[in-house]
Amino acid sequence: MVRILFIVFLCLLVPGLASMGYSLWQGPAAWSVDTDVFWGLPISLFVFWIGLAHAGTLISAIFLVLDVKMERRTSILAELATLCALVVAAIFPLMHLGVIENFYMVAPYMDSRGSMANVCSPLVWDFCCILAYGFLSVVYLIVHMLSEKSAVAASIHRPLAWLLFPMVLWVHTVVSLDFAATFVPAWRGAFFPIYFIVGAVFSGLAMVNIMLCGEGYRMRQLEKLMLVGSWFLGAFLLWDWALKGDLNVVVLIFAVLLPQFWFVSAVRESTLGRVLVASSVLVGMLLERVFLVFPTGGSGIGWVDLGLICFGFGLFGVIFLVARLKLSRLIEGEEVLMGEVEESAPKRPATVKFAYFPPLTTPEFRALRFPLLLGILSCVLFLVWVVGCLEENGIAFSDVNLIPLTCPIVTAVAGFVLCLRPLVFHIGKVGGIVMVALAVLLGVLAGMVYGGVMSVPSGSVVSSTGDMFDVNALPDSTSSLDSVAVIRTKAVFEARCAGCHGADGRLNEKFVREYYPVPQDLDLARMDALGEDSLVNVVLNGRTNMNPYAGRISPQMARGLVRYMRLLAESARADGVRAKAGEGGGE
């Protein structure tokens, strides 16, 4: 049975890999997008798989904190499925990028150049949430599996579940904001956050139900919960229809109407019937996401798109089965593997011992308060720093848009701090080596992002050609020395003439006295006697010791230079007069 399933998933994965490879090579042109739809199927699949990734945490963490009793292997299986679905989900937004190697620029992390991601963008929120959620899910699964054997792990199990509870809902809420916070008419909707959560939980439950069928047992409560989900999804679809005027009948049939066959006892009591009901939910939800991303219909689904769907299911199946078999001892504990258990009846909440705690005294709260405090503190510090960066660089932002970043930061930091004590005091050699390896990996990644890649030089050749200024206004005798035209000409004069003639128009003493014949003293009288045209001629064609500048200076600029020299001579005479007057005044 397992072998057949494995081969089926491999058969899905291999053509899926081919189409994934083609998509990576070809870029976004590979899958179906049109002039109005920029995103295409990978994003539908992302939303679909991240939705499935909610079931595990929902069933395990949320039910745990709400004291709904659940069999250990159901919840661990669901968590494992969460992780596998999360891996699949994380691939799609990465591969849909146009420039995949730039993906790290989405992280809200200042690099050494001081450039920073735009923290007001829903995609950045997404990135942070998925990262934090992935981290916490891994930690939670490890803690859960170890909690049978180790008391330390067991002690942080429930507190971690409390941390995951808001986080899992936050993730899908933020995914919904990718759509709700845009100007696409088909995506508008302030109800999207809850709508997406309901959809995610609903499809996740369907997946878990299929999985339980595969394991050979069932949980009636989960099936009922799935049905309640289908009603709510229907209500949301109708509300969407009421607001925007288009209803997806196919989705309604698959995700809402067909699951109602569960009420037929023949369907409900056969494994195949339950699998079919849950599969219809999955198909409906997948279609719902496809129609969501393609409001205009796109340009049809091509072979690459089908391949990507196969890739998702194939990859999920393969990694899930491998992990399931490798971890079977940890998952099953003393229970029977794949036994045909008719009903693993969850204990009713009534049988749970009810314990009353005065406010702020529960053991979970005691375990969580210090990590949470640190989390909130680091979140506040981060936000202050971000606001500072944004203001320093003059980037417009709104305060509301910083809120979605808070939960992943608080939760990730708190989760990390919560695990710190077992990590520091109770880690063995293998764990230690793994930890060091992870630390090195993290350091390398952070350093690479911080350092950033040097850009490729253009390689254009720098040589001696090229004009300095296009001259569109020449100075004349009335120009003041700080007018734009004069300053432009002055720059050319200082580059070309000042070497001998001096920046002040008289002499460059150091150079001329030592090496060169002294150039003509160009006082005002002499310049006026020679006239502008003949001086321009000298500049362009040279004279005794002066080199010709034709070809290096435009005739236009040569005239400008002559006028500039005249201005210099004028100011020199004015200085002279003033100096004389000063001497006279001094006597």
């Binding site: 880690i427 080596i433 911080y450 350092g451 050749v461 040589s463 200024f469 580059a495 014949p517």
Partner: protein
């Protein structure tokens, strides 16, 4: 406990190593020996009262600083200047040199705008960015990266000179 400390140290080392490797200067240091015309910066600069723009004609006014053409050299070198030992070798090398004896590939990426003139007008001295290596004819070892640019544009590098300039992306990128 031991492992945690090792992990923290490893993390820090990995971070700085990765940063160092990623952010290394694009071009290695090189000496200007191979050019057709032997040239010594020390003999052409302040000692004879010439500004950089006398040879790098665009340095104070244009986007590019430019390298001198043969004609630029000959403005002065058409006359025998000194009785130095190497002057004859120099004169013959100059006579044989092509019209544009020097050229180099720009290390400025295509999407970056850099204007020498505007920096000069703002009071940035050549040596503020180019250092003083050129006086010994060592070129290319300077750190021309965006980090250095931005630090100065934010006013962090030369506090006494109070340089502060535009830091929005499109000021320097296209």
């Amino acid at each position: 406990m031991k492992w945690s400390l090792v992990a923290i140290v490893a993390l820090l080392c990995a971070f700085f190593l990765a940063d160092l490797l990623m952010n290394r200067v694009a071009e290695p240091t090189r000496r200007g020996d191979g050019a057709a015309v032997p040239f010594v910066h020390a003999m052409h600069g302040d000692s004879i009262g010439l500004p950089c723009s006398a040879c790098h004609t665009g340095a104070f006014a244009a986007a590019r600083a430019y390298l001198p053409s043969k004609a630029d050299c000959m403005d002065c070198h058409r006359l025998p200047l000194t009785e130095g030992a190497g002057i004859e070798a120099l004169d013959s090398a100059l006579a044989k040199a092509p019209g544009h004896p020097w050229s180099r590939k720009s290390s400025l990426p295509e999407h970056v705008v850099f204007h020498h003139g505007v920096h000069h007008s703002a009071g940035v001295a050549c040596a503020d960015c180019h250092g003083t290596g050129y006086a010994k004819d060592v070129y290319g070892g300077e750190r021309f990266d965006m980090r250095t640019c931005l630090d100065c544009h934010r006013g962090k590098t030369f506090r006494d000179k109070n340089f502060k300039a535009a830091v929005y992306c499109a000021a320097c990128h296209r």
